[in-house]
């Protein structure tokens, strides 16, 4: 019968094809050991900026040295408008497996890229939009700002403390508030004065703002700007005999003001990148929001990786005694070390954002005994009660 012959022939061909496909499939799954991961990093600033992008690049170098199976690529100074182009280049031209986009402004392009390339992974730093293959991560430093505030409050003689802010966004406002809460716990009379420069990286504007604050009577300065400009102002005045205490931002900046820098916040993106890439390698990656603090070793205290507090100021800090509810009378140096230890254990042990916290209009924002939620911290838009002025609206 002709018909049966055809059927048999068709079945035979299909079996043969299946065998080929099966064998081929087996072949493809074999070389698992030689698995490599290629990761692309997109930075918003120059990697030599001594701030945000520099810190990320230190983390990138750390993981590249750590994992033999990892290859990394980077592009610096990418305007937010151009991130889609660079993501495309990383995925299409360079065949990256994962792309890290390290600025808030890259958020929408990162999420769009996730839809466009469903079999690749994307990690967006500091954003709040996740999807199947888009995760978010952030190393949050507000705890260190609080500790810096304790120091500033103890050291100030004029009771006027300055802050040079980049943009009035929740992240920066949160840091100023944490700084002010620390100041308040060490010195209830001191007030914080803020100057905004509306730029992430602008040494000349930061310098101007710092000089304006000093001229206004401030003798301690903290800041958010990716250069050591504010520290150089502090060092200059200190050398001329008028001490101005400063706090490094993001990268080890003590070297730019050895007589002025008391401490600062440092970030370790390396530990975060290590976890993320290890998870991807092991296949255990998920898109959960990573929000790492002191307890996860992402946030560190110091103006350099060697000293938590510049030894020049240790004696002065030990000489100031304050009284706190849980510890009684204690000198500020010991208080800082104790609080740092508590923060390293977790926010349940100690957190600066525990009520009562009122804004500077007198409204209670966090009731007594309550700890601010992550959502509250992420959308904070008011000044606590020892900061002068209003958040620009």
């Amino acid at each position: 019968m002709k018909f049966t012959k055809i059927i048999i022939a068709v079945i035979l061909v299909m079996l043969l094809a299946a065998a080929v496909v099966f064998a081929g499939g087996e072949k493809e799954t074999e070389p698992v050991e030689a698995k490599k991961i290629k990761a692309g990093f997109i930075y918003v600033g120059p990697i030599g900026d001594y701030g945000w992008s520099h810190a990320h690049d230190v983390g990138r170098k750390y993981v590249e040295g750590k994992f033999p199976w990892l290859e990394t690529l980077l592009v610096e100074s990418v305007p937010e408008a151009d991130s889609a182009r660079i993501i495309d280049r990383f995925i299409v031209e360079e065949k990256c497996d994962v792309v890290f986009t390290t600025s808030f402004g890259y958020m929408d392009d990162t999420v769009k890229a996730g839809e466009k390339y469903p079999d690749k992974l994307f990690m967006h730093c500091s954003g709040f939009k996740q999807s199947e293959n888009v995760g978010t991560y952030f190393a949050e430093l507000y705890q260190m700002y609080y500790l810096n505030g304790l120091m500033a409050g103890a050291l100030t003689r004029s009771n006027k403390i300055g802050y040079v802010g980049a943009f009035p966004i929740p992240e920066v406002v949160r840091h100023i508030n944490a700084f002010a809460l620390g100041i308040k716990d060490a010195n209830p009379d001191a007030k914080v004065h803020v100057r905004w420069i509306f730029s992430w990286y602008d040494p000349s504007k930061a310098k101007e703002a710092a000089e304006a604050l000093v001229a206004d009577g401030c003798d301690a300065l903290a800041f958010t700007e990716d250069s050591p400009a504010v520290i150089e102002v502090g060092q200059e005045h200190t050398e001329k005999g008028k001490p101005v205490f400063t706090f490094g931002h993001y990268s080890p900046m003590q070297q730019f003001g050895v007589d002025s820098v008391v401490s600062g916040q440092l970030v370790d993106w390396g530990v975060m990148y290590e976890k993320i890439l290890k998870d991807i390698y092991d296949g255990t990656w998920s898109n959960e929001d990573l929000w790492w603090l002191a307890a996860e070793d992402a946030a560190l205290l110091g103006g350099s990786f060697e000293d938590k507090i510049n030894p020049k100021f240790t004696d002065e800090l030990k000489a100031v005694t304050v009284e706190v509810p849980d510890l009684g009378k204690i000198n500020v140096y010991n208080l800082i070390m104790k609080r740092l230890d508590q923060m390293n254990q977790g926010t349940d042990v100690f957190d600066p954002f525990v009520g009562p916290i009122s804004d500077n209009k007198g409204k209670v924002r966090i009731p007594s005994g309550v700890k601010a939620s992550k959502g509250q911290l992420l959308s904070i838009d008011y000044y606590v009660d020892n900061i002068v002025g209003d958040v620009p609206k």
């Binding site: 120059p46 980077l74 592009v75 610096e76 100074s77 305007p79 182009r85 009035p168 509306f198 838009d381």
Partner: protein
């Protein structure tokens, strides 16, 4: 023996000489750029190859290059007009921002109520007017009070950037943007369609090419263009011939600024879909376009090619960062050096340099 250098003004530069000088300037510029690469221990030929293969060597690269070229062509052809009249408009950056601001106002306020076919032309018109009005001030200051336009246009860049920042952190800050200094996203009717699979907002591209042709005709075949060229060649002769310096300068700057304003509309409505920091909106197009205009020899149609060329360098700049590890600033060095040599080429085109050895008696 004494070396004498004599510089004579050259009146007649033949087209073939012009092309030769242009090519020679480009080659000398590329050679110098190559030396910079070599100094960073990178093979110059490899680096140049990477730049141009990164921008023109693949479909991806070509799409991105065209996207980047849109604002450069628009601004470059507008600047060509101004530079023809020897009016040094260094303020295209701010004219672009003002265009973006005006378009944003229309897009956010009228976008939700009007359909795309009405709102998009309205945004382009508003952007043109915004850029044009912003450019009119330095033009008026120059013709009325003799104020140097280099200073006034340059300084207005800062004013516009601060104004934009004021708007996005202040009254225009979007309620949906989580406290970040962006305006709300434009409604769909106020955004430009993209060429499939790319970021090319073709509406702006079509306007750009069309405008280049119009400007070319304006410069070479209208009385206005002729008068502008006379003003540029010799202002005294122009006055003597009864050419209205004031009227011509102001109209010329309205057009030049308006072109930059249109580029601003394309960026906000085609790429960002909201107004954000000045640096993000423009990434220096107003300055890069100065080189675009010079490379085009102040010819608006040639600006299409030179706009693509410099867009290619910007896009290829990513490639040399990724594959050769060169810093991002390399691209700016590249552009700066090329401009330097192009202007130097102009000097040799307009002047005859005669070297001679003189024997001392």
């Amino acid at each position: 023996m004494k070396l004498r250098i004599r510089i004579d003004h050259r009146i007649d530069a033949s087209p073939s000489l012009q092309v030769t000088v242009l090519l020679f300037s480009l080659l000398a510029g590329l050679f110098t750029v190559g030396m910079v690469f070599a100094a960073s221990r990178v093979n110059p030929f490899l680096a140049l190859w990477k730049i141009f293969s990164g921008s023109f060597g693949s479909l991806y690269g070509i799409k991105e290059t065209i996207t980047k070229a849109i604002p450069l062509i628009l601004i470059g052809s507008g600047l060509a007009l101004a530079f023809r009249a020897r009016f040094w408009n260094i303020g295209a950056e701010s004219q672009l921002l003002m265009g973006a601001i005006c378009a944003t106002w229309i897009g956010l306020n009228w976008g939700p109520r009007l359909p795309g076919p009405i709102i998009i032309p309205a945004m382009f018109l508003a952007g043109f007017l915004g850029g044009a009005l912003w450019a009119m001030f330095p033009a008026l200051l120059k013709v009325k009070f003799g104020i140097n336009e280099v200073i006034s246009t340059l300084m207005l860049n800062y004013v516009a950037a601060e104004l934009l920042t004021l708007l996005i952190v202040g009254p225009w800050k979007g309620v949906t943007q989580q406290g970040f200094p962006y305006t709300d996203d434009f409604p769909a009717s106020a955004t430009l369609p993209l060429l499939y699979g790319s970021r090319i907002h073709y509406t702006t591209l079509i306007i750009a090419v069309f405008a280049c042709v119009l400007l070319f005709m304006l410069i070479y075949s209208t009385k206005f263009g002729y008068e502008l060229r006379v003003i540029g060649e010799n202002i005294e002769a122009a006055r003597y011939a009864g050419i209205d310096f004031m009227r011509n300068t102001v109209i010329m700057m309205l057009i030049s600024g308006g072109m930059a304003g249109i580029a601003g509309v394309g960026e906000v409505a085609g790429i960002h879909h909201h107004l954000t920091y000045p640096q993000a909106i423009s990434s220096g197009y107003g300055f890069t376009a100065i080189i675009v205009a010079w490379l085009a020899k102040l010819n608006p149609i040639a600006a299409i090619a030179s706009g693509l060329f410099f867009a290619g360098i910007l896009v290829g700049g990513d490639a040399i960062q990724i594959s050769l590890g060169l810093p991002a600033a390399t691209v700016q060095v590249f552009n700066g050096i090329l401009l330097f040599f192009l202007i130097m080429g102009d000097f040799f085109l307009n002047n005859r340099v005669i070297l001679s050895l003189e024997r001392k008696e």
